[in-house]
């Protein structure tokens, strides 16, 4: 499938989903829950660009996500700040905030890439974990964005696309899903993706063969960070009260690792599958759907952990790995049959 055709189909699917869900679901809560699932589709797809394609495990999802969220807070307060200096600007629309959040997060991603360029494997993972702590400390001590108290965010009075504001947020997150999945799939089929895979398989050999490993790594950290920031940018308007403890929640890091692992890390489909599966389970869990099974909502992260362990043991290549293994087996069966035919 051509890249352009895929973009068109992805956009059409996204649009159709937005329209259909709006027609069929009258309960506002559906959009609250679906927003979170879609947000995880973006986060896990973004994580997979660095973690799955390039092989660098990032535990700092929370940091990039929160940078996106807090850059929106700054932009939200910007008109009020400028008023002091007698400058009047209108309220900044959310799509602009998403763009800015992506740029800021992408730059932090680039910086992280530079600082950690000599680190590999577990050392890189530890460095990203440290990044999350550093960013959280900075935010907690920054009063302008609410510090550790948190900050109330008043949503704009009306949603630009009609319907409720939460439906608008949901539609924007769907658009981000389309964008991030489109980028991931494009990478997979491009020379860039081939270079990423070479780094994942054997970085030293890639370097010896002239693959510009440093530049490719920086592209991966920047892209991945930018998409995570974009996923975080609408968060302040979603929660309406933003505070560091929940914005930097470990759940973001754990989920964005677990979802691609469970779905399968080598294909763009994997993170989507994982995010929908795990995200939906957690959303159902948090409204007490599994109370009959004696699983209270507080066990949400436990469910993720148990599923992660099970998948790593039973299907180390995720759901997609299972499918492609079957395809490969079928291909070998066909090939041996052909060879026998030729021999006969």
């Amino acid at each position: 499938m051509k890249i352009g055709v895929f973009w068109l189909i992805a956009a059409a699917v996204g649009l159709a989903l937005v329209v259909l869900t709006r027609l069929y679901f009258t309960n506002e809560y559906f959009f609250f829950a679906a927003y979170v699932v879609l947000q995880y589709v973006v986060l896990s797809t973004a994580w997979n660009i660095l973690g799955g394609y390039t092989g660098y495990i990032n535990f700092g999802t929370g940091a990039f996500f929160a940078i996106g969220a807090y850059s929106s807070v700054v932009l939200h307060k910007l008109p009020a700040l400028l008023k002091i200096f007698d400058m009047v600007i209108p309220a900044i629309p959310l799509p602009v905030m998403i763009l800015v959040g992506g740029i800021v997060s992408g730059m932090v991603g680039l910086g992280t890439g530079y600082l950690t360029l000599r680190l590999r494997g577990v050392f890189f993972a530890i460095a990203t974990l440290a990044l999350a702590v550093v960013v959280q400390t900075l935010i907690v001590n920054w009063d302008y964005v609410g510090g550790s108290r948190g900050i109330y965010m008043i949503r704009p009075p009306k949603a630009p696309l009609g319907g409720s504001y939460i439906q608008y947020l949901y539609a924007l997150m769907m658009a981000l899903c389309v964008i991030s999945v489109g980028i991931a799939r494009w990478i997979e089929r491009s020379r860039l993706g081939l270079g990423f895979a070479a780094i994942r398989d054997d970085e030293l050999a890639a370097e010896a063969g002239g693959v510009p490993t440093l530049r490719l790594k920086l592209i991966a950290t920047t892209l991945s960070g930018a998409l995570m920031g974009m996923a975080g940018a609408p968060l302040p308007y979603y929660v309406t009260y933003l505070e560091p403890a929940s914005t930097f929640n470990l759940a973001y890091a754990v989920n964005s690792v677990a979802m691609p692992v469970i779905g399968g890390m080598t294909s763009w489909v994997g993170p989507i599958l994982g995010a929908i599966l795990l995200g939906t389970i957690q959303q159902l869990g948090s409204v007490g759907f599994f109370l009959d099974l004696n699983i209270p909502p507080t066990f949400n992260l436990l469910i993720v952990g148990v599923l992660l362990i099970l998948f790593v043991i039973i299907m180390p290549n995720g759901i997609m790995g299972l499918i492609s293994a079957r395809q490969r087996r079928r291909a070998t069966i066909i090939e041996t049959a052909l060879q026998q035919q030729r021999a006969a």
């Binding site: 020379r191 398989d201 370097e207």
Partner: protein, 249 residues
């Protein structure tokens, strides 16, 4: 010494010192490889052969000394250049232990050999020519590189290096992990490639008897220093130093 001024592609190393942190691995190494010559670097494990290769490829910065290459008659100082630039100039390394990308297909491995913009122009032609040279690879083009046999993997490693159309080929221990018959076949293949593409070859090897078969000249490296320089295969074969330090006779 054999470095004639008329040479087109050559490599000259002068007074090279290198190491990792405070550990000194190479000490005052000087050697040269002339145009279309096969020079072997003989030495057992831990004598600095791979370190030397890494220095040439810009993957390790030498403490002192110079590495210059002459490519198509033009002189280049290699110290301080990035690996990518060096590959662009026309120098490629076949790393020790082959270092393929095991989870990528044979063809993807080959394409990665031509990742540089300069190599990309001729990618189709080079791919055809590697399949022509290694027909087995064409048969297995969509197979994962990790599933190839040892000999096929070594062929793929060579083919991958040739995808960037190098002038100077560095080969680090092609015999590692191969059965004796395959070692001998690999060595012959290297000779064949060298003649076919008019390559200048520097090959590090432990397998003395096999390496000497195709060597024009050779150096014996002991504890990071050149212990002996043989101006031809005979000199390498019948030499006290080689017998003592290297063959342990």
């Amino acid at each position: 010494m054999a470095n004639s001024p008329a040479s087109k592609n050559s490599l000259t190393i002068n007074g090279l010192d290198a190491g990792y942190a405070s550990v000194r691995v190479l000490e005052d190494i000087s050697l040269s490889v002339s145009h279309a010559e096969t020079v072997v670097l003989l030495g057992t494990n831990g004598n600095g052969k791979s370190t030397l290769m890494k220095c040439v490829m810009g993957m390790l910065r030498p403490a002192s000394g110079s590495i210059t290459a002459e490519i198509d008659g033009e002189r280049y100082d290699l110290v301080g250049r990035s690996t990518e630039e060096i590959v662009d100039l026309g120098i490629t390394l076949v790393p020790e232990g082959r270092r393929l990308f095991p989870k990528l297909t044979v063809e993807e491995n080959l394409l990665l050999g031509a990742f540089r913009p300069t190599a990309r122009g001729a990618i189709g032609r080079n791919l055809d020519s590697s399949y022509e040279t290694f027909p087995r690879l064409r048969e297995r083009r969509s197979q994962l590189a990790g599933s190839l046999s040892g000999g096929e993997q070594q062929m793929l490693a060579l083919a991958r290096a040739l995808m960037s159309a190098p002038r100077i080929l560095l080969i680090d221990e092609p015999s590692v992990g191969l059965a004796p018959i395959l070692v001998s076949r690999t060595i012959e293949k290297i000779q064949e490639l060298k003649e076919r593409f008019e390559l200048t070859v520097l090959m590090a090897e432990q397998n003395f008897n096999q390496a000497v078969r195709i060597a024009d000249r050779g150096y014996v490296i002991v504890h990071g220093q050149i212990a002996f320089e043989g101006r031809n295969a005979d000199e390498l074969n019948n030499n006290e130093l080689v017998r003592k330090f290297y063959l342990g006779l």
